[in-house]
């Protein structure tokens, strides 16, 4: 595991994240222009979709069915776990607990990508269709989180608007759209776009993580507003969810690599789709909580220590 941990920590992708954080810490005038950030995130989501779709096109349905069902179950179960932990142990109010539950039940695409890379490098190539699971995992938890909140009192937001945001949000459109494209075009059809979407992928991800490092470091300034409990939650909840994800992955027939990646996905907290939907559906929840926890604590934890940990769990359970 030390090997994997080291290889993971010393990859350009993680180092770029660190560099971004350092740039903020030393108050450099480095800035990633907003359109570049948006361009990279469109590119990454579409690329994941394309890759997953073209892999799906050569995977028998039977291999995919159980993992999909398992992931769906996790998408419903994990926000409920998170909500209860926050309410009971954290004494958090309903609104903010529901908002955080939506985030921690959903998934961070970048964590998924990083996990895929690390796990493959460690010699456990994961199944190619995993991006389909990202799409499956993204939505349900946000709906569950909103349902919890809306079933417990008047809300300032709009349920319909929030649902519309959930299902037509850009990350789901690009992910599912990309998968459809990859699936229809198939391996052969994808060949001409591979240099752009496949070979360029890790490099583009490096630039993206430079930006993520800057954003995460800026969020850390809000840390005191957030409190000790939420910091602990941001590290321990992912470990619980991650272990659960690994176990479900192995139980539904995924390889050790695939289960480790599913663990990382389940452990991760959304920072694109969930914030967008929660802002519309639950505007009274405090963004400082869910953004700081998800971007400032859980994402860096998973990127550095979490992923190797989930792989270790997968090796131990499934080896």
């Amino acid at each position: 595991m030390a090997d994997v941990l080291l290889a993971s920590l010393l990859s350009p992708v993680v180092l770029a994240f660190v560099l971004g954080a350092v740039a903020v810490a030393v108050r450099s005038d480095l800035e990633i222009p907003e359109p570049l950030y948006q361009a990279l995130s469109i590119y990454l989501l579409l690329a994941i979709g394309l890759k997953g779709g073209s892999a799906l096109s050569v995977t028998p349905l039977a291999d995919v069915a159980w993992p999909v069902l398992g992931t769906l179950g996790l998408g419903i179960l994990t926000p409920i776990i998170a909500y209860n932990v926050l309410r009971r142990l954290g004494k958090m109010d309903r609104t903010n607990a529901a908002a955080l539950a939506a985030h921690y039940g959903s998934v961070s695409a970048v964590t998924f990508i990083a996990a895929q890379t690390v796990v493959a490098l460690a010699g456990y190539p994961p199944e190619g269709f995993l991006p389909a699971l990202v799409a499956v995992l993204e939505v349900p938890a946000i709906i569950v989180g909103l349902l919890i909140a809306y079933s417990r009192g008047e809300r300032a937001g709009s349920w319909q608007e929030a649902m519309k945001e959930v299902v037509t949000g850009k990350s789901i459109v690009l992910l599912i759209g990309g998968m459809a494209m990859g699936w229809i075009a198939g391996k052969d059809g994808m060949a001409p776009v591979e240099p752009f979407f496949i070979h360029g992928f890790q490099g583009a991800l490096t630039l993206f993580l430079l930006d993520m490092g800057m954003t995460a470091a800026r969020r850390l300034r809000d840390l005191k507003a957030v409190g000790v409990f939420l910091v602990a939650f941001g590290i321990l909840m992912p470990i619980v969810h991650g272990a659960l994800g690994v176990w479900v992955g192995l139980a539904t027939g995924l390889s050790v690599g695939g289960a480790a990646v599913l663990g990382a996905m389940v452990s991760s907290a959304s920072y694109i789709a969930a914030p967008a939907a929660i802002r519309v559906g639950l505007p009274e929840a405090n963004p400082a909580y869910y953004l700081t926890a998800s971007l400032g604590i859980t994402f860096p934890f998973n990127l550095t220590l979490g992923i190797p940990l989930y792989l270790a769990i997968a090796q131990w359970l499934g080896g």
């Binding site: 907003e34 954003t215 809000d222 507003a225 914030p275 505007p283 963004p287």
Partner: protein, 111 residues
């Protein structure tokens, strides 16, 4: 004030809204329903008393509408009622002199 001599000008109201992006499309719909005949918008960055900076995704948008005083009032009321409680939004109003007044909707007074 220095009224323009050559062209006939009318005084309308310029309502400026700076808001987190998540409310942009809803705001635009409401503004047009309340009687605006057009709008101008662009992305901005900002800090205020609520706006904790959000993530990158939640930078702000600025919306400007030239409208009659009546519509201006409705827009300000709408923004205050619907968004002040839970959203990062500010709104302010100024007088502007325009040519071709009718373009911005009916209006009974002149500069």
């Amino acid at each position: 004030m220095y009224p323009l001599r050559t062209m006939k000008t009318v005084t309308y109201r310029l309502v400026t809204i700076v808001a987190e992006r998540s409310v942009r499309d809803r705001l635009l719909t409401s503004i047009h329903q309340l009687g605006a005949t057009g709008h101008t918008l662009y992305d901005v960055k900002g800090e205020g008393t609520r706006h904790a900076g959000f993530s990158r995704e939640a930078a702000s948008v600025k919306i400007e509408v030239v409208v009659s005083p009546e519509v201006a009032e409705k827009v300000v009321d709408h923004v205050a009622e619907k968004y002040f409680a839970h959203h990062s939004v500010i709104v302010y109003v100024q007088d502007v002199e325009v040519v071709r007044g009718s373009k911005y909707g009916p209006h009974n007074e002149e500069a």
